[in-house]
Symmetry: C2
Subunit: 347 residues, 2 copies
């Protein structure tokens, strides 16, 4: 690495973001635009290249180590392709590396693409709350429930980079179906839509401030409202979070028993509920983990929010081997940067 | 490695076994004795050293690469100690390496100790049904339900070597307690004792040949009887296996979603039920795995039985780094031997 700068890109269904990152320090410049996914892949890639040009202007000396892209869908890491990302019409298999090199007129520019959940976990590992831990499970609670595994400072990818699909783990093999068709999958309780529905049914006949805030029939209830009500002292809302935290902790316990990885980092919008959710989750997690693996159990919230996606994406470019745990031909582990993101804190 | 011979030792609660293994070929000599665990650690180690001497006599040229030991309890891999193995009175933390070196009067002899479940999986990976797969989850169905993870030809150990504790994964967070105190843990359905109890209650009022074989009240029912009844065409017994297979498949599905490792190898005595158990497990597993991870799913039975424990233990000695996936200071992956165990098949 002859330059301490790289660009991280977050390809979201709604927003497209790019940032210039200084290695071990953090954000130097950010830019954001609408993805306009309906315009098809060429349009999205044009917009992505525009964003990169914007942040490139801020590079001292003009040289970057490369681009890292976090993307939904199936990723072929070697070929840097993205296939069938959900909600991206017209994307079959898209060569993101080639497309960006061409649009930026930089044929040799290193471009690394990785699954967005893995990228976020890498960001947490190098810049976020995951920094002190060499291994952790990241659980991302948003529209869906996703996740990733960092094992000894590297992404644990599994067969095709799909490892860490925590949201599809089941806590009740005869439970309600999640969108995936998997009975009792944790996403079917904690995914944003499911959480709102479960909360609504649990609260309809309860005394709660949410009857004033979420419509007569609680039909407009959101996790954000649930959090605000809990903050305002609403007991019924707090009970819903405790219910959700219990489910979360049970699923995490199963994961920990399988992995013997004892740190969990929780990210995503729903994690903003903080200890209303996480304290019951910690309690249930402890009870779901076998005696021999109790030492050092911990569950933390990632406070950097979506910024871990950009930081992790840039990290990919600093670490051109994506850090696959035990991958063939792996390089020596990149030194973990301890001073991360202090002087250039995320905006 | 200047000699193709190593000794594998299996420290079981009832039996103590040792074998001389030729690298990539298999068994040259085996010996077995009672563990006599009640005699305390010194007595067990004496007996272990005796066994080693017996098989050492068969070494052509007299030189071995080392000893590998598969043991229950908590293992400190670096110090080669075994702590608090269940059903071993008097074992606090025992230095197995030092004890064997001293008793055999070979101070420099390499001795590697590893968790018995991990050792069995390594045996399957190098000599058994796991051979064609670079990554798999091994689930061992015996008195308890155990497991281990092989990731890219190496043991995935997790923080302390406890990874792969498949038996403690829960399929129902409000289900019956397993011995571990974990609600709905798969061991609480498939552990030998639990399986017999569940089967008994499911069969008490059913028409089945087992009423003749397992006592008036089915109080002597064992998995072996259940298997034999299924073989004899007993429909009720087959339904019990289908019930158990369904539970197994649901738990495996959760594990696969988390690991993106798509091969499962099932071992242990209960796995002898074969497709009565495994076919329903395959079906449930498929339904419990998310769409994107379906390709290449497979579930196989390990036909080598307990021999994988001895083969895997010897493999540890051939591969002095225990093969920890992504471990610091790891060596290059040992070449997988394709011709394994054909000319010297296990007895």
């Amino acid at each position: 690495m002859n330059t301490p700068y790289a660009i991280g890109i977050d390809l979201g269904g709604t927003h497209l973001r790019a940032a210039l990152i200084e290695h071990g320090k953090g954000f130097l410049k950010q830019a954001q635009t609408d993805t306009e996914a309906d315009g098809g892949p060429a349009r999205v890639l044009d917009r992505m290249a525009d964003l990169v040009r914007q942040v490139l202007r801020a590079v001292p000396g003009g040289d970057v180590a490369g681009l890292g892209v976090g993307a939904p869908g199936a990723i072929d890491w070697k070929r840097a392709t993205v296939s069938y990302p959900p909600n991206f019409p017209g994307w079959t298999e898209v060569d993101v590396r080639g497309a960006l090199q061409k649009r930026l007129d930089r044929p040799g520019l290193p471009v690394v693409v990785e699954n967005d959940a893995n990228v976020a976990a890498l960001g947490s590992a190098f810049y976020g709350v995951g920094r002190p831990y060499d291994s952790f499970l990241m659980a991302t609670l948003g529209t869906g429930v996703g996740g990733a595994i960092i094992y000894r400072d590297r992404i644990f990818r599994g067969t095709t980079g799909g490892a860490g699909e925590f949201g599809h783990m089941s806590i009740d093999h005869e439970g309600p179906m999640a969108r995936s068709g998997i009975a009792g999958a944790i996403e079917g309780y904690l995914g944003q839509h499911f959480l709102s529905q479960h909360a609504r049914y649990r609260l309809l006949s309860r005394e709660t401030i949410l009857h004033e805030r979420a419509g007569d029939d609680l039909e407009h209830l959101t996790p954000k409202m649930l959090f605000e009500a809990a903050e305002d002292g609403d007991e019924a809302a707090r009970e819903v979070w405790a219910w959700a935290g219990h489910k979360l902790g049970c699923a995490l316990g199963s994961a920990i028993n399988l992995l013997d990885i004892r740190t969990v980092v929780v990210g995503g919008g729903v994690a903003a509920a903080g200890d209303y959710l996480l304290e019951p989750a910690r309690e249930a997690m402890r009870r779901s983990v076998v005696a021999g693996l109790q030492e050092g159990l911990c569950l933390e919230r990632e406070p950097l929010g979506n910024d871990v996606a950009l930081l992790g994406a840039a990290q990919l470019a600093f670490q051109p081997d994506p850090g696959d745990a035990a991958g063939p031909g792996e390089t020596a582990p990149t030194q973990r940067v301890e001073a991360a993101s202090s002087s250039h804190a995320p905006s």
